[in-house]
């Protein structure tokens, strides 16, 4: 679209003035990161799709509350994190939380010409990592996803989680150590194999 060059702030202003079509620019621009954040927090593709749709709709409805103090992406991730946390809690209560089945992980970046054995190993590794993420507390999982998967700055993570930057660092270290403990058998096996 011709409005792709417009920044988030300008798009937000247009939407706030009543131009609902400008919101599409924001959706296209942030859909992937938002969806991945939700998906990694939930570990379920279908659930993630549903929650992501709710997140964007919720963002549109409450966009008049966005004052521009932070980036739109930070504000959007905050909404996504809240929605995903609620859904994650419901899924845990329903004992429906599970690692996605085959094929889900390879959507988009899958290499159709890769070695099948290596592909199977990668898929298994991904499932283990996802299972480990699902085992972490939601705040720790969110910090790791934002920091290690999406390379979000400490400040942005702090704003999104509404905690100080120092707290983000300590929580990030704690989360990484916890994840290392969860994934130790995985990389120990690999180390032994290598």
């Amino acid at each position: 679209m011709f409005v792709e060059a417009i920044g988030d702030a300008e798009c937000v202003k247009r939407v706030q003035r009543g131009d609902a079509d400008s919101f599409e620019v924001l959706v296209r621009r942030h859909q992937k990161a938002t969806f991945n954040l939700i998906y990694r927090l939930l570990g379920d593709y279908e659930e993630a799709a549903e929650v992501a749709q709710e997140v964007f709709l919720s963002a549109f409805k409450s966009i008049h509350q966005f004052r521009g103090d932070a980036n739109f992406s930070t504000w959007l991730y905050r909404i996504a994190f809240n929605h995903a946390s609620t859904r994650r809690k419901n899924l845990q209560l329903a004992h429906q939380r599970h690692v996605p089945l085959d094929g889900t992980e390879l959507i988009g970046d899958g290499d159709a010409f890769a070695d099948p054995e290596k592909t199977a190993q990668d898929r298994e590794t991904q499932q283990r990592v996802q299972r480990a993420l699902n085992s972490l507390p939601k705040d720790d999982a969110a910090i790791i996803i934002l920091r290690d998967l999406q390379d979000a700055p400490y400040e942005e993570v702090a704003q999104m989680l509404e905690i100080p930057v120092g707290t983000v660092k300590s929580r990030l270290h704690r989360a990484r150590r916890a994840l290392k403990e969860l994934l130790a058998p995985q990389y120990c096996l690999k180390r032994k194999a290598s």
């Binding site: 609902a20 859909q31 593709y45 959507i107 988009g108 290392k180 990389y187």
Partner: protein
């Protein structure tokens, strides 16, 4: 630097946000501490595993679905509109239209009814009957009331009470022996002609003198004045001759013209002006007579309006009635209206209905 202090700095070291003395001290500690080095290696491996997770694509049509929801939310009605959504404005408007049409219909119907009725209550002039003498064999047949006659503007309310005993303006001697019924209706403007008048048993307490077109005071009306005396009672109209939509058809229709008044002093003298009162004979000699009077409208001057009188005269007394009438007024025409169409035997069985149109005196 010990291992406890190193732990918090390992993440920053991996994120390359550690600098200065912290970075140098950490490197020195890691070089001499296998435990911290192994932990660093483990965290690095975790990061590598995390980074192996692919970035998934949103489902196909995700943006379309999101924007559909967004547009629906953007054009969603407000709180007030949603509150009144079950009661759409269209329905109350339709209901109001129906109610309005109904109210207007009732209003117009009532208005039309009112316009069709006279403005004042219908008050026919007294219908009086005089008892026939017991020796007479004829019975007074009721006379059809001029049901569609106009009514006087000063007509009083209809009363079922008989006329009060009132001193008649005519002498008692003028009372005919035969029973004569006078039915008198005063005219109103043309617009009220269609109003039906229930004639049966209608009478009024206002009699004679209040009638502006009183024939007795105009020099004509002996049959009428003769009946105005105490003791008379209302005579019913013949139901079979009533017509709700038109005037009754007289047997004879006479047009007479008043004689010009003699002198002013004679007019003002009590009763002396009435030539009929000086003639006790006339129609008073007939066994049965009925008359009704109807003033249509003032035609010439204010003193002598055009009047229509109805008489009921026995068949065998008609000639006598005509003579008496000719003695009091100038008979200008005599038209047998219904007589032409009816058999004589039928006419003999009942009194004749005579319509007398009294014209004002001829101008000199």
């Amino acid at each position: 630097m010990n291992c406890e202090e190193t732990g918090l700095q390992l993440s920053e070291f991996l994120d390359r946000t550690l600098d200065g003395d912290y970075l140098r001290n950490l490197r020195e500690h890691l070089a001499g501490c296998p435990r911290c080095s192994e932990e660093l290696a483990g965290i690095t491996e975790c990061r590598r595993l995390l980074s192996s997770l692919p970035a998934v694509e949103p489902p196909v049509g995700f943006v379309t679905r999101v924007m559909a929801d967004v547009r629906e939310a953007a054009y969603r009605p407000g709180i007030l509109e949603r509150l009144f959504a079950p009661v759409r404005l269209k329905m109350p408007l339709q209901a109001a239209a129906v109610v309005l049409i109904g109210v207007l219909s009732v209003y117009l119907y009532q208005k039309e009814d009112t316009s069709n009725l006279p403005l004042t209550p219908i008050t026919p002039e007294p219908v009086l009957s005089v008892q026939q003498e017991s020796t007479k064999s004829e019975t007074v047949k009721p006379l059809a009331a001029p049901v569609n006659s106009p009514l006087p503007s000063e007509a009083k309310a209809v009363s079922t009470e008989p006329a009060p005993a009132k001193a008649p303006s005519a002498p008692v001697a003028a009372v005919p022996k035969a029973g004569i019924t006078e039915s008198r209706l005063e005219s109103r403007p043309e617009k009220f002609k269609s109003a039906p008048i229930p004639a049966q048993g209608v009478t009024t307490g206002q009699e004679g003198s209040s009638f502006p077109g009183d024939l007795a005071r105009r020099g004509l009306g002996s049959p009428v004045e003769a009946l105005r005396q105490p003791g008379v009672r209302p005579a019913p109209f013949a139901a079979e001759r009533l017509s709700l939509l038109s005037e009754p058809i007289p047997d004879y229709e006479l047009v007479v013209r008043r004689r010009p008044p003699q002198r002013a002093d004679q007019d003002t003298s009590s009763g002396s002006h009435d030539s009929l009162q000086k003639q006790p004979g006339g129609v008073a000699g007939s066994k049965s007579a009925e008359a009704s009077r109807q003033t249509e409208s003032p035609s010439r001057g204010n003193n002598f309006p055009l009047e229509i009188l109805w008489f009921s005269v026995p068949y065998d007394r008609y000639e006598q009635f005509k003579k008496e009438l000719a003695a009091q007024a100038i008979v200008e025409s005599e038209i047998p209206v219904a007589v032409k169409e009816k058999e004589a035997s039928f006419i003999v069985d009942r009194p004749l209905s005579i319509r007398v149109t009294v014209l004002p005196p001829a101008e000199r």
